[in-house]
């Protein structure tokens, strides 16, 4: 092992293996950065399963919790606490902010820790109390947005409450929800006085429970059998979709993105190690002649690789750690400040990747060295074709597949991604090979030698590999940087300037006229839609529940209440795609479903659905499916029923309209007059969502940058392979009187051509992907702009030229004399 390390050091000193080492470092950095990011983000959200509920179990309803339930829970020997959560608005001057109010009873949270600060910048401490009567605790963001300070008073409905503390960590809340609706926490004793709670308001009441498992089960089961679907029992293991699921999806996606870097870096490893092995052949023959056995040599090679893996794994992990800090900084807003300390597992992940990459990509080639015939010391031609053959490539593909499965933890996904990556590589390679073949033909056909093509056409395979490797990196950059931006632009362009940007929800029937005229005073002619909160309870006469579905979004649709409305005729932006819309004279209750909703839940025309609305049941047949143009920002519903079906049900109204920015004050006025009406600023929410997306995208962009770096390494590896020949050609040319300048110019042509091809191809493929995505996924028309291709070409040329010139700088420093004396192998 000592000798292996010594020899590794000698190789390194001699400039061998440097690219190989860097490739491993980059691959490890990609994998470890994701591992650390995922570990810490997951730690911040997922690990506290019980905390996320703030209880061992919770009972959720949309009606106020009967006092009797609390008493009964206590009789069962359970600790209890209650929360009521609903959206509302806080006003300061003309500024309004949608908030999420949470009214709590003493004892909250039963599990997990609530952390607060006296001032936004003050020390954080674990709080065991809840806000006193007349006081609120708020998220720091609310203070920023509304320019408030601790000690100020805010109005919540009819009550004026004083801001006493700032909430920094709330157990049962994911960090990023606060961006849309910051938390305002109050004492439940103050709730009634606000006047915000009324018929049809969107309050979610929770009874928090803590205690022994059997008692919890006994109590909740009893409640379940009494109340049926009207209560929802939540457990900490949480089949609830949500933050943890988003995190795990993001983790898998990033993990696979990191593997793209590993694949490209792996190509660099394959190339460099083969070159290295070829250069070692004579040396190994000498060692064998000197008495080294095959076993000894095998040990030496494996030893070298293991050492290299340990060292490169360490360096890569350090780089990965630094990268994960940058990524965390990108997404800091989404996380809140409850990040756990970094663990050591990613370090193991890094080493494992390094060792896997080296043993998978390098060893199959290197190990063949032990078969070098010792006779080679006397006859050069022996042991020549030792490194031909597909085995190393096949082993490498196997290792990549295994690494992918490990990252994705899902065989199907692995196979799909593997196939997609392979297909992309094949397409890129086929196009590159086609172009190179074309150039070859051109140089031949034109008779005279097109000097600047010769570099490419003399080494067609190296050229293809270089183009593909750089192309992959550039392509992911273009996809994320340009195409994604374009798609968003296009989408935004399609939304008319006067598309509704404000929603008003929770308007009581008796407030309808007042709100309508207030808006009309400002010249806004808004349409109001009735709605009721409903829960889906039955399909074709049988009870239906979340347990019948595996898909998390479907489960969510069944556990949460959703909005139900009625309509006489389809609204603009709604189009019946299956079945028929009801006619005025058919008295039977009927249902119209949005097609995506129906598909998700597997409902079809002809099915009979049962809904629970305010404690009553409505059963009706689905007679048609609609497509809905959601991005019109008009009020739309998943489920519509025919007129009359909802008669006598408690209804509220909602509306959407365009509010010019300068008339923001209207909302403040409106909320002042009608405290229970909740305004929702869609534009602000979209901005927030966009910011969140942008932050996520920046993380992925960083990943693609790593892929590009790996692509550069492949480029350099290919230059190194051709380096020997190049050196010799250069020396010859110079000995024949060509100036150094002229020789450099030839290389420059070659690099620029490779860069141009890689850039042009990746920009084209990214654009085509954009066109398909726009058409198939988003129903948009992607703007085809030639400048992207030009920009791609130029970017490719610039990157390849700079990396290539740097890698090849050594060839031109040496005098022709030295070069010729060294000869070429």
């Amino acid at each position: 092992m000592r000798l292996a390390l010594t020899m590794l050091w000698r190789d390194w000193r001699g400039g061998e293996l440097r690219l190989l080492a860097w490739s491993v470092v980059i691959a490890v950095a990609a994998v470890t950065s994701v591992a650390w990011l995922a570990e810490r983000v997951a730690g911040a959200t997922e690990a506290r399963a019980a905390d996320l509920l703030a209880a061992d179990r919770a009972v959720e309803t949309t009606e106020p919790l009967p006092e009797a339930w609390v008493k009964r829970a206590r009789e069962h020997g359970l600790e209890t606490g209650r929360t009521a959560v609903f959206p509302s608005v806080v006003i300061n001057g003309e500024r309004t902010q949608l908030v999420s109010v949470k009214a709590v009873t003493p004892g909250y949270p039963l599990r997990g820790k609530l952390r607060t600060r006296a001032r936004p910048s003050g020390d954080e401490r674990v709080t065991t109390e809840v806000p006193e009567i007349g006081r609120v605790w708020v998220a720091a963001r609310l203070l920023t947005v509304l320019d408030l300070a601790v000690g100020d008073t805010i109005e919540l409905g009819d009550s004026a409450l004083k801001i006493a503390r700032v909430i920094s960590v709330e157990p049962d809340r994911g960090g990023f929800v606060d961006n849309i609706a910051p938390r305002v926490m109050m004492n439940q004793a103050d709730l009634a006085a606000t006047g915000l709670i009324g018929e049809g308001s969107r309050v979610r009441y929770k009874l928090l429970l803590a205690g022994e498992q059997e008692r919890l089960v006994a109590f909740t089961q009893q409640l379940r059998s009494e109340q049926g679907n009207r209560v929802e029992i939540e457990t900490p293991t949480g089949d609830r979709p949500g933050v943890s699921e988003v995190v795990s999806k993001a983790r898998r996606f990033l993990g696979l993105a990191a593997l793209l870097t590993v694949v490209v870096a792996g190509v660099a490893v394959l190339l460099t190690v083969r070159h290295y092995a070829e250069r070692q052949t004579t040396g190994v023959a000498v060692m064998r002649a000197l008495g080294a056995t095959r076993r000894r040599l095998t040990q030496l090679f494996i030893g070298k690789l293991l050492w290299l893996g340990v060292i490169a794994g360490m360096l890569g992990s350090v780089l990965g750690f630094a990268l994960h800090l940058v990524m965390l900084w990108f997404v800091a807003d989404l996380l809140g400040d409850a990040l756990p300390a970094p663990g050591l597992t990613p370090l193991a992940t890094g080493w494992l990747t390094a060792i896997a990459a080296l043993l998978g990509f390098a060893l199959p080639t290197l190990i063949r060295l032990r078969d070098v015939p010792p006779m080679r010391v006397l006859r050069r031609s022996l042991g020549q074709g030792l490194f031909r053959g597909l085995t190393p490539v096949l082993v490498a593909a196997g290792v990549v597949l295994a690494l992918m499965a490990w990252q994705a933890r899902d065989w199907w996904l692995t196979l799909i991604v593997f196939a997609a990556v392979a297909a992309t590589l094949v397409v890129l390679a086929a196009v590159a090979a086609g172009v190179v073949a074309g150039l070859r033909w051109l140089t031949r056909a034109s008779g005279k030698r097109l000097l600047w093509f010769t570099g490419l056409t003399r080494r067609p395979w190296t050229a293809v590999i270089q183009i593909v490797a750089v192309g992959i990196g550039l392509m992911s950059l273009f996809l994320l940087g340009v195409v994604r931006g374009d798609l968003l632009e296009t989408w935004r362009d399609r939304i008319p300037d006067d598309a509704p940007n404000q929603f008003l929800v929770n308007i009581q029937p008796d407030q309808l006229d007042g709100v309508r005229s207030l808006l009309a005073d400002d010249g806004i002619d808004a349409e109001f839609r009735p709605m009721a909160r409903a829960r889906l309870t039955g399909l074709n006469g049988e009870a239906i529940s979340a347990d019948d579905y595996r898909d998390s979004e479907a489960r969510d649709l069944l556990t949460r209440e959703f909005n139900l409305s009625w309509a006489e005729a389809p609204r603009t932006g709604n189009e019946v795609v299956t079945g028929n819309w009801w006619s005025g004279d058919d008295p039977a209750p009927q249902i119209s479903l949005e097609e995506g909703f129906a598909e998700r839940l597997g409902f079809e025309v002809g099915d009979t659905l049962t809904f629970a609305v305010a404690g009553r049941e409505i059963t009706a047949e689905v007679t048609n499916l609609r497509s809905v143009q959601w991005d019109s920002f008009k009020v739309n519903f998943f489920v519509l029923v025919s007129p009359g079906t909802l008669d006598d049900m408690p209804m509220t109204y909602l509306t959407s309209f365009y509010l010019p920015p300068e008339r923001d004050a209207l909302i403040a006025e409106l909320v002042e007059d009608y405290p229970s009406v909740t305004p929702v600023d869609v534009a602000a929410i979209l901005r927030t969502v966009r910011t969140i997306m942008d932050q996520g995208v920046r993380v992925v962009e960083l990943m693609s940058l790593l892929t590009l770096v790996a692509g550069m390494l492949v480029l350099m590896a290919a230059l190194q392979i051709t380096g020997e020949r190049r050196r010799f050609e250069t020396a010859l040319l110079r000995a024949l009187g060509a100036t150094g300048k002229r020789v450099r110019r030839l290389l420059r042509y070659e690099l620029l051509l490779i860069g141009a091809l890689a850039g042009l191809m990746s920009a084209t493929i990214a654009t085509i992907a954009g066109v398909f995505a726009a058409d198939l996924l988003f129903d948009l028309h992607y703007p085809w702009r030639p400048w992207i291709l030009l920009a791609g070409t130029v970017t490719g040329m610039a990157t390849v030229w700079s990396a290539g010139t740097w890698a090849a700088r050594a060839y031109y420093r040496v005098s022709p004399m030295t070069l010729l004396r060294q000869g070429h192998d």
Partner: protein
Amino acid sequence: MNDSSTPALQAEALSMHFSSPQGTIRLLASLELSIAAGESVAILGTSGSGKSTLLGLLAGLDLPTSGRVSLAGYDMTAMGEDERAQLRAGRVGFVFQAFHLLPGLTALENVMLPGELAGSDGVRAAATQALERVGLGARAGHYPAQLSGGEQQRAAMARAIVSQPSVLFADEPTGNLDHATGGYVIDQLFEMNRIDGMTLVLVTHDPTLAARCQRVLQLEDGVLVASAP
């Protein structure tokens, strides 16, 4: 087994055939050779007569088509590749026509290589000593590319003698060097043969060099014929 009665090297009925597109090439045909310990033998022959092939077989680098080769009494043709390697280790030294110094290693490290591979102790001291013996002590830290042809040959010599082998094989040891440059190393070789009793097997096409050996053999049509010294 290394007493004076056992030949240092013995070849019996040694044949080597290669199949080529033009048919079978019979390079060596039932060749017989016995070299006593401490002897110096030159093998002369035209280019392509099979000198290098014979040397390789004598050193156990390759196996003959038929016949036997024994090194210090051990029948190498009955051994596997790795056993032969172990037999060679420390017992056999080489000077090649192309020197074959490892380009990434300094002169000293090149000379240390055999000892390192064998896992012996005091490798560095022995290597330094060997370099001094060939007069290259001052250039121990230089890489092969920084050495002249003659110096490279001396480094190769030092590597060949560092483990104090009992047999030294040299294939065109002067390579493309002129007489004056190559001469010093050749003198060293014969001195070691005389003083240390190291068996010397020398392949060359240079009759003057061959003439310095105790025995000169000519490889002709696959067999060795004695030639007047």
